[in-house]
Amino acid sequence: MSRLRRLPRKRAIVLAAVAGIATVGMLIGHRGSVTAQSDQQVLEQLAIQAEVAPLTLPFEVLGNTFATDGTVAGTASSPNVAVATSDAGVQATQAQASSALQSIYAPGSPELAARQDTISRAINALRGSGTHMIAAGIRNVAFQSVISNGSSATVTMTFTSYSIGVDTAPDGHAEPFSPQNNMIAVVTFVNTNSGWRVSSTQTNFAPGSEP
């Protein structure tokens, strides 16, 4: 197992290390370390997408979904979302969620089936709820470690999940909500014919941040 990175670490140090590895790689004519760096970025990005999914995929995503640089805290995702209310909207949201999940999780994995079921159920439950969503996602992402042996990998990360919206109570009054929780996640991957895919996630509330 090779440890690709351990955070927190100053960005300058990371860049210097990457530059040094790339230089050494070029000097000795070996691209393994460059591939490893690419794997690291892919794994981190997939980990972010896996953790954003349950927060955003139940909704129609109206804005940007995932930032390109998942390694920078605070910029992981900030999508604008809305509850799908029409038949077409529900169908589009279901299709969008299914497609997104298939690009994240290993094909045929129990995790993929479970996520699809959970989010499909949420989309249907949300319809007619009177909920108006404003935003949902994760922020303050920090990667503790990215470990890979080439065929499987594990990413350990922390982040803050959030969901912002307004409910309509039975008496008609508007009830805003904006919960956020600090989370700890361990995401495991398998290297498939289509590249890295998430095989499982263990996501827990940080102590003191439970609902």
Binding site: P54, D117, A125, H173, F177, P179, N181, E210, P211
Partner: protein, 209 residues
């Protein structure tokens, strides 16, 4: 006292101590949901020294204590830990020895399984916060709510204590729960004000028989 009588006395004394450890502190013939709710209201923000404490992971331990206060008696108690979900207990080796418990006493999914195995409580509804603003009208004080956040299995439990207005989040009205980890008093059943995963959460309501 002869050595034999001393031995007998010691054995009897030991039996009494062990029996005291294994017997529930609040044995009763019928479950009293109001008593369970009153216990939850008393201890929602602190730990009862009569039970082992599990700071940071105390939700089901707290619910089980309330069930015990409501009259639920130990099932299969023993001086050892157990993963058998037909058991439900928390005991202590007398007089100062370590605590022992069943997984069902301290872990939400195991308590849910114990309810099914024992018949002490039964599922009366599955609720989705997005579709149920006020929540479980058929829950009564002393009933237990189990939470599954994102499809990973049951991960949390709380106890229904009242129906009305959430005193912390005044706009919310419906079934109210007490819980540990995090400690909350008369919180709205859905936990929506504090749960960013509310959209994928579903809640199983178990009515105590």
């Amino acid at each position: 006292m002869t050595s034999l009588s001393k031995t007998l006395a010691g054995a009897i004394g030991g039996f009494v101590l062990v029996s005291a450890a294994l017997c529930p502190a609040h044995a009763a013939l019928a479950y009293n949901g109001s008593a369970a709710a009153a216990y939850a209201d008393q201890w929602w923000n602190s730990y009862n020294p009569s039970y082992a404490q599990m700071p940071g992971d105390d939700c089901t331990n707290f619910v089980s204590q309330a069930l015990n206060a409501g009259g639920d008696v130990w099932a299969g108690a023993q001086l050892a830990n157990s993963a058998n979900d037909s058991y439900w207990y928390m005991t202590k080796q007398p007089p100062l020895g370590p605590w022992y418990w069943s997984n069902s006493f301290t872990t939400a999914g195991d308590l849910y399984t114990f309810f099914g195995n024992s018949g002490r409580a039964g599922l009366v509804g599955i609720y989705y916060p997005p579709a149920n603003y006020q929540g479980s009208d058929n829950a009564s004080p002393g009933d237990v709510l189990f939470y599954e956040w994102t499809g990973d299995g049951i991960e949390h439990s709380a106890i229904q204590v009242a129906y009305g207005q959430d005193p912390t989040n005044s706009g919310w009205y419906g079934s109210l729960v007490d819980q540990h980890s995090s400690p909350r008093y008369h919180e709205i059943w859905s936990l929506k004000p504090t749960n960013s995963y509310w959209a994928t959460t579903y809640i199983l309501v178990e009515h105590h028989n």
